[in-house]
């Protein structure tokens, strides 16, 4: 009972003011879960009603939403941009250039998702320009180059999404000599502290509260580790140290465990955390090749997780590793969860509504919403589902 109470406090503490907003990468708590109710339990033939569909420049950046505005990133031949659009029409309100275009055979443009906080939008361009822009008009407040910490543009570009904790912006930078994880003053971009001798892994840190201790959980090439809010390492566990591609962020399970997963046959690991005397101890519960998240992370429903194991959509008990069901044909897709429903974006643009239950894979609707490669996870805010690829952005009525 006490544990359940603590978990509830933990969840509440991380929520934004308006639960319906989706202010950052993977939503309110960076876990792919939207706090929405009253959603359509099944979709009509052909899918839910389309509010609007607009062209967008190439990017793998997901969409953040606050009220009637949305924020994402895109690109054109000249550069990479953070943009604000009207969430009701998709019409661009402002668009601010951050850096030159990053090109890659698998797709050009930004990979990171903007974070919205207060009057500011924080965004990271592929080549390492981290910027804070005014939410109202996109004017630049500050910017810095994270390569100054000693890193080079990685093969798949800088991808991490900025994490705002109080007055700090925390980001994986790939910096050398203890600078892989960096805290910036969110108001002016000055460095508060640097931490971690590890190498980068295209990973976005998350905030976790355990036993009254708020701390940052970050996945690097070598470790999954916890850091105090002033950058001191609290715990760490090795995880497939030879692999430097781990874009699926750490996932908090039942308030006291961390699940990490990566592809290229890396597998997954579950770490138990215990808070005592102001410190946090970690213990590896298991490490196995039962889930290989490639581009996108899993979502958790208690100890049940749903995620893409390479190109197989899978449900499993994350404690026992027991597989509950699998579904193929969606490729290396992405998903989010809300109100007992999974919104699954197949790799080829087929959007599927699935019941979030370990009992069986049950589709409650589907539609071919986009075409071509779709590696960007959906966003759900105020009863509207937003999806995009590197050409189009679409808003759907799901409530």
């Amino acid at each position: 009972m006490l544990l359940k109470g603590l978990c509830l406090i933990t969840m509440t503490a991380l929520l934004p003011v308006s639960a319906a907003d989706w202010l950052q990468f993977r939503g309110p708590n960076r876990d792919g879960v939207a706090i929405e109710k009253g959603l359509l339990r099944a979709w009509p033939e052909g899918g839910p009603k389309e509010f609007w569909r607009v062209p967008v420049g190439a990017a793998f950046s997901a969409i953040s939403v606050e009220g009637d505005k949305l924020y994402t990133m895109d690109s054109d031949d000249a550069g990479e941009y953070v943009l604000c659009a009207d969430a009701k029409t998709g019409k661009t309100i402002w668009r601010t250039e951050l850096d030159a275009l990053f090109t890659n055979n698998f797709g050009n443009g930004p990979r990171s998702t903007p974070t919205v906080e207060g009057d500011t939008v924080y965004a990271l361009a592929s080549r390492g320009t981290l910027a804070a822009v005014n939410k109202a008009d996109g004017s630049l407040i500050w910017k810095t180059d994270i390569k100054t910490f000693g890193s080079e543009i990685p093969t798949w570009a800088f991808c991490a999404a900025p994490l705002i904790v109080d007055d700090q912006l925390i980001l994986e930078t790939g910096g050398k000599d203890g600078k892989n994880l960096v805290s910036f003053n969110k108001k002016n971009g000055e460095v508060n502290w640097t931490a971690s001798n590890d190498d980068q892994a295209y990973s976005s840190p998350v905030l976790m509260e355990l036993g009254g201790i708020r701390h940052i959980v970050a996945l690097s090439k070598e470790h999954i580790a916890g850091f105090t809010l002033d950058g001191k390492e609290m715990w760490k566990q090795a995880f497939v140290q030879e692999l430097g591609i781990k874009p699926a962020p750490p996932l908090i399970i039942e308030g006291d465990k961390i699940f990490v997963s990566a592809s290229y046959d890396a597998g997954a690991k579950l770490v138990q955390l215990k808070a005592s005397g102001g410190e946090i101890q970690s213990e590896s519960l298991w490490e196995a090749k039962v889930m290989n998240n490639h581009f996108n992370g899993s979502v958790a429903q208690g100890r049940i997780i749903y995620g893409f194991h390479k190109a197989t959509f899978k449900c499993m008990d994350v404690v026992t590793q027991e597989q509950k069901w699998v579904k193929r044909g969606l490729g290396k897709g992405s998903l989010i969860m809300s109100d007992g429903l999974l919104f699954v974006m197949g790799e080829r643009g087929r959007l599927v509504l699935v019941e979030a239950t370990p009992k069986a894979y049950t589709e409650k609707g589907s539609m071919q919403v986009l075409t071509g490669r779709c590696w960007t996870q959906p966003t759900l805010s105020n009863g509207v589902l937003y999806v995009r690829n590197n050409k189009e952005m679409v808003a759907l009525k799901v409530k």
Partner: protein, 246 residues
């Protein structure tokens, strides 16, 4: 006393697959499920048209098959690393029963060439017109009933097939339908070599059952075949499977 109790328990407990069919029953049930011996024997060629999906990109695909072990894949737009659709490229991979060859893997490659060993082995595994369970005795294959196995939530019978020509395959037959849910190749499944094939969306075409979705796991990667059209016994010349003179 404890040992006696253990022995009694062991004797009274059913074996893990005491209800398992014999390998002959399993093979017969499979053959019935896919259309029956007579129907199967009446088919000598197949043309399958659909989509080959790799790295999230759809590539129009045509597969030609001919008895006994001729196969040819024509895949449009597939560049070497599957980064994007490249309309100027058409990849061909074929096996004529003797030689595995390929064409068009990249913009630079010109003419047909012998496939490297790993790719050739994959193609040879995909080449047989019939599943090795059909006429297995006549073909010299050896079958072993391994027992029950779960494949993607389906209850299956796991059969180990020792091929007459060497190598082992593992076939998993759905207990309800007797259709294959999966085939795995022992010793394969390296970084790039396919190790298993998952079969789904079985539909009847001209009296035979065809899997319209095949998911191939190839080490750290995977491919998907979506079959949209099946032509039974179309005219297909042997020359289609032969490596063109360079």
């Amino acid at each position: 006393m404890q040992a006696t109790l253990m022995l009694l328990l062991m004797l009274s407990a059913p074996t893990p697959f005491s209800d398992a069919p014999s390998v002959e029953e399993a093979a017969n049930n499979y053959l019935k499920a896919v259309g029956g011996a007579q129907k199967q024997a009446s088919i000598s060629t197949l043309k399958l048209t659909g989509m080959y999906v790799y790295n999230g990109i759809e590539h129009p695909m045509v597969i030609h098959r001919k008895r006994d072990d001729k196969v040819r894949f024509d895949i449009q737009g597939l560049n070497r690393f599957g980064t994007q659709f490249s309309p100027e490229i058409k990849v061909v991979r074929a096996y004529n029963g003797k030689e595995a060859w390929g064409m068009g893997e990249s913009r630079q490659s010109k003419g047909a060439y012998a496939l490297p060993a790993e790719a050739a082995a994959t193609l040879k595994n995909e080449a047989p017109f019939e599943c090795p369970l059909v006429d297995y005795k006549k073909k010299g294959h050896k079958l072993l009933m391994v027992g029950s196995a779960d494949v993607d939530g389906a209850d299956t019978w796991h059969l180990e097939v020792t091929l007459a020509g060497g190598g082992k395959q593992h076939w998993y037959l759905n207990k309800k339908t007797w259709l294959p849910a999966k085939m795995a190749v022992e010793g394969a499944g390296g970084r790039f070599a396919p190790g298993s094939w998952i079969f789904d969306e079985w539909r009847k075409v001209d009296g035979i059952m065809i899997a319209h979705f095949v998911f191939m796991e190839e080490g750290i990667f995977s491919r998907e075949y979506f079959i949209e059209k099946v032509e039974v016994n179309p005219t297909v010349q042997d020359s289609v499977f032969n490596k063109p003179a360079s």
